[in-house]
Amino acid sequence: MKNILYKVENLSKHYIMGEVVVKALRDINFEIYEGEFVVVLGPSGSGKSTLLNIIGGMDTPTSGRVFFKDKEITDYDERKLTEYRRKDVGFIFQFYNLMGNLTARENVELAVEICDDTLDIDEVIQAVDLQSRANHFPSQLSGGEQQRVAIARAASKNPEVLLCDEPTGALDFETGISILKILKKINREFKRTVIIITHNTPIAQMGDRVLKMRSGQIMEYYENNHPIDPERIAW
């Protein structure tokens, strides 16, 4: 019996842009289980980033509820949301978003020093295969290397879940695959839940569960009984 990590109930998010109301999420419901590798698939503007931001405690919904391990995070105040982001969530972004004036290792340490129960930094750096580049600044690293630093930074906090917003979006095919392999490795070896949002359909093949979105709604939500290894994906 799998434990529920996220339970999303009637979640809606509306933005007001001038005189237009943009409905980014429209009354969606789903559950995500602990230890899964989930792929949220959808074209640009489908609401997947908004969904990620809300379940990551970075944004608040217009209506609906999100439960994280039975606790309603949509009811949290600013202080509790900060605490939640600090302890339970690790973010990875499309454009890496590293601190330009900190080295790779220091970027990882930046995340670790505000958490209590963290992973060993060297171990994580080794896991992303960055030992020889750890003391380089982001400007001295390639895109793939920068994304690996971002993964190490998110994973080293030892969060319950890694939320990845288009982690391969800015990378070439081979580098993208290598990033996916690392994320899969973290999912398997460190037993962390990984949620990836992407517009890249082939990536869905590696997910334990796939959530397809369009226009703020869930079009399809299914369990993938035969997820494939990242090496076998092609786009």
Partner: protein, 782 residues
């Protein structure tokens, strides 16, 4: 070290030019604050200690002849604690340098120790007898006189030799000026000697008679009541003047300086700290805007608002702490230099350079508060940044046309680069305000500095060249008959000579009063030119009086007011005199009257006590041999010593010029660097379009020039405001800062500001030159 703090350190390292620039402003502000405050506290506390040690007198009385026998009666007056009589008069000091005129003031003392105004012995012995005298330290030092040396003084036309037994300081002469007109001490030309009372009495024939009394009171606050009793009782002894401690010349000059410096030390550092705080707030606010994405990531990682706010505020606070520490250290060192400089004018033997914990604590608190408030204010938008929004690209600002675009005919003729310039100026209103303010502050401060410099220069030339036109001012040792002027004329054979009667009186208007010298001169005087503030000549009236502007301010008198002159002269009543005019006078505080009207209303007899002489010859040696000559002031000598004094002013003005230039430089430099950093994408696009680095720099230059131009306009009224403030602070009994702002002052201020601002902009060219446009276009790291 925490990684956020490490990021901060690297952020500082990355923007070191700006960091150092703001640091310099904070250091300068703190340096001025600490140096001035410590020097003034040194002066004030040491002065109080000196007064306590020497039992500084509370009341100073000048009297015609006070019999020693009357002393016991005065000791019994309620509130009088101690009373001491002295014989005080000025005599020529015989100099071995040809034609040199040196005067000393003889002050008699008891053979062993005085009760009031005790001498503080620097060297030698206090006990004197016969021809042994004690000499005042500044005079001894200036003339190289040592213990055991012999000096010659001319008393009543006869030369007497005296042996130096000791070198001492007196609280009454910590600041030694011959009179209020002198402005500054001339230690080599005028000094004090303390001689045995019995000896001087026998040489002058003033046996058991004093012409000066000094008292201490049990309660200083009851001076008015005690003064009235004393005045009544002293009437029969020919009371000339009675001055309380507050108005005693040396003490008044000291506090004049102390209060003036206190006001400046409260004002100038605040200007600097405000400027630093404003630049910091702007810089941090722009950094926060630029770091929107970084802040989003930090929040996504779980950093709280407080820790991110702290991160940015620490940048400002670090400037406060580093700048404060360096400023305080440099200021403390500078206070030593200032204190030594003060020693040249104010001689306080117990004066020492100390470290004042309260000044340091105040300075640190002041700078920390300024920088923290600036930091928090600048970084306050951190709180509003939502992490989810920060991850998305910022929505472009709503574009709108600027006002000038509605004038189509003009706008069409504006070149493309000028269009960019105008749009940027009007879209960045805060930056516009800032840069114009930077230019305005530099214009204002340099205008004030050049005005001070010009005014100090003019003060003497105006006073001794235009207001007073005599070559010599001769003071007789006692009032003599008017007829003696003819004898003096025969001896000196001058181009022009005229009599004067100059006596101190208490002048009051309502409740305000002031002891000043009333000067009686001929109505047709050729030695004075009176002018009002509009520059119109004012004639000396037949009746009534003219008063100097600073006296009018002190007693709140206006033309037409009837002022009361308390008459101490025995048998004469107090006089009520109409103010016929208020005249401009840069040095001194006086009342001027027709000499005949003065005799009729105040002095009573056809006597004079001095003369003004115009001659091209040096008459000092002729006067040395004459009896009844109390002192001679040569206008030329006064001007020469003023030029020496001016060296100090030049140094001070130099510092002020540097400080004001620095302020403008830093503001323009910081704002330009900020602008270049923020607009790297825009400039990169222009480079792609084919703009050269020079063309891009010229866009910035044009923007800054237009924005500064406005500062040049309102810098002038701002400068005038500062100058008016200086005028108010520095209206004193001794001098009035009333010089007009000249075109030369304005041109100098503009020229200097242009140099500073151009220098600041030229330095920023390096930033444009080194900007990696390709990297800027593809940069995605924060």
């Amino acid at each position: 070290m925490k990684k956020l703090d490490l990021r901060l350190l690297r952020m500082i390292q990355h923007s070191k030019g700006q960091y150092i620039a703001i640091l310099i402003i904070v250091i300068t502000g703190l340096l001025i604050y600490t140096a001035m405050n410590s020097a003034i506290t040194n002066l004030e506390t040491s002065l109080q200690e000196f007064y306590d040690i020497t039992n500084f007198g509370d009341v100073y009385i000048e009297v015609m002849h006070f019999p020693r026998g009357a002393m016991s009666e005065f000791e019994k007056i309620d509130n009088v604690k101690e009373i001491e009589g002295r014989i005080v008069f000025d005599v020529p000091f015989i100099s071995h340098i040809k034609d040199e005129k040196v005067n000393v003031r003889i002050v008699t003392v008891s053979q062993n120790e005085n009760m009031v105004n005790k001498l503080f012995m620097n060297e030698g012995e206090r006990r004197i007898k016969g021809r042994e005298i004690i000499i005042q330290k500044q005079f001894a030092e200036a003339r190289g006189i040592m213990i055991g040396d012999e000096i010659e003084l001319q008393i009543n036309g006869l030369r007497y030799a005296f042996q130096i037994k000791g070198i001492a300081s007196s609280p009454e002469f910590a600041y030694v000026m011959e009179d209020e007109q002198a402005l500054m001490p001339r230690p080599d030309k005028f000094g004090i000697v303390f001689a045995d009372e019995e000896l001087i009495a026998s040489l002058t024939g003033m046996h058991a008679i004093y012409n000066s009394l000094v008292l201490t009171l049990n309660d200083e606050n009851k001076y008015k009541e005690t003064g009235r009793i004393l005045e009544k009782k002293l009437d029969k002894y020919g009371l000339i003047s009675m001055i309380e401690k507050e108005d005693q010349l040396s003490n008044a000059m000291m506090f004049e300086e102390i209060n003036g410096v206190k006001q400046i030390s409260g004002f100038i550092p605040v200007v600097f700290l405000f400027a630093a705080a404003a630049i910091l707030a702007a810089m941090i606010s722009r950094n926060v805007k630029k770091d929107r994405n970084v802040i989003g990531i930090l929040k996504a990682m779980g950093y709280s608002n407080a820790s991110i706010l702290r991160h940015y505020t620490l940048y400002a606070l670090s400037i406060g702490v580093v700048g404060g520490t360096i400023g305080i250290l440099a200021g403390t060192l500078m206070s030593g230099v200032m204190t030594t400089m003060y020693q040249t004018f104010f001689y306080i033997p117990v004066l020492e350079v100390k470290l004042y914990p309260m000044t340091i604590v105040n300075a640190i608190l002041m700078t920390s508060v300024f920088c923290t408030v600036a930091g928090v204010y600048g970084a306050r938008k951190v709180l509003k940044i939502s992490p989810a929004e920060a991850m998305r690209p910022e929505t472009p600002k709503e574009g709108h046309r600027i006002m000038i675009e509605s004038f189509n005919i003009i706008w069409k003729k504006v070149s493309f680069s000028w269009k960019i310039v105008f749009r940027n100026i009007f879209r960045e209103k805060k930056k516009f305000l800032f840069i114009s303010l930077g230019a305005a502050i530099t214009v204002a401060m340099s205008l004030m500095t050049f005005w001070i410099s010009g005014m100090m220069d003019n003060m003497f030339t105006e006073h001794y060249g235009e207001f007073m036109k005599m070559d010599y001012n001769i003071q007789f040792s006692k009032p003599i008959n008017k007829g003696a002027l003819l004898d003096l004329e025969k001896i000196l054979n001058p181009d022009h000579i005229e009599a004067k009667m100059e006596m101190p009186f208490e002048v009051s208007n309502g409740r305000a009063s002031k002891v000043v010298n009333v000067i009686g001169i001929n109505r047709s005087t050729k030695t004075y030119t009176f002018k009002d503030f509009e520059g119109y000549t004012v004639n000396l009236p037949e009746t009534g009086a003219l008063i100097s502007y600073n006296l009018a301010l002190a007693i709140d008198a206006q033309i037409g007011d009837i002022i009361k002159i308390d008459n101490y002269i025995p048998g004469k009543d107090d006089a009520y005199i109409r103010v016929e005019g208020i005249v401009k006078q840069t040095l001194g505080i006086n009342v001027y009257m027709n000499i005949d009207y003065m005799a009729e209303t105040l002095t009573g007899k056809e006597t004079i006590n001095g003369a003004y002489v115009n001659t091209k010859q040096n008459i000092t040696s002729d006067l040395n041999h004459l009896k009844n000559i109390g002192g001679v002031q040569s206008t030329q000598e006064m001007q020469n010593s003023f030029l020496e004094y001016l060296d100090l002013t030049v140094a001070m003005v130099g510092f002020m010029v540097i400080f004001s230039g620095l302020l403008g430089f830093v503001i323009i430099y910081s704002m330009t660097i900020m602008s270049i950093n923020e607009r790297s994408m825009e400039f990169s696009s222009l480079r792609v379009l084919g703009f050269s680095k020079r063309e891009i720099f010229s866009i910035i230059l044009k923007e800054n020039t237009v924005m500064s131009a406005l500062g040049f306009v309102y810098g002038l009224p701002l400068g005038k405001l500062m100058i008016d403030g200086m005028r108010t602070v520095y209206v004193s009994d001794v001098y009035t800062f009333d010089a007009p702002i000249t075109l030369k002052n304005i041109l100098y201020a503009y020229g200097f500001t242009i140099i500073c601002l151009t220098a600041a902009q030229l330095i920023t060219y390096k930033k444009i030159k080194n900007l990696n446009f390709i990297e800027a276009l593809k940069s995605r790291t924060s």
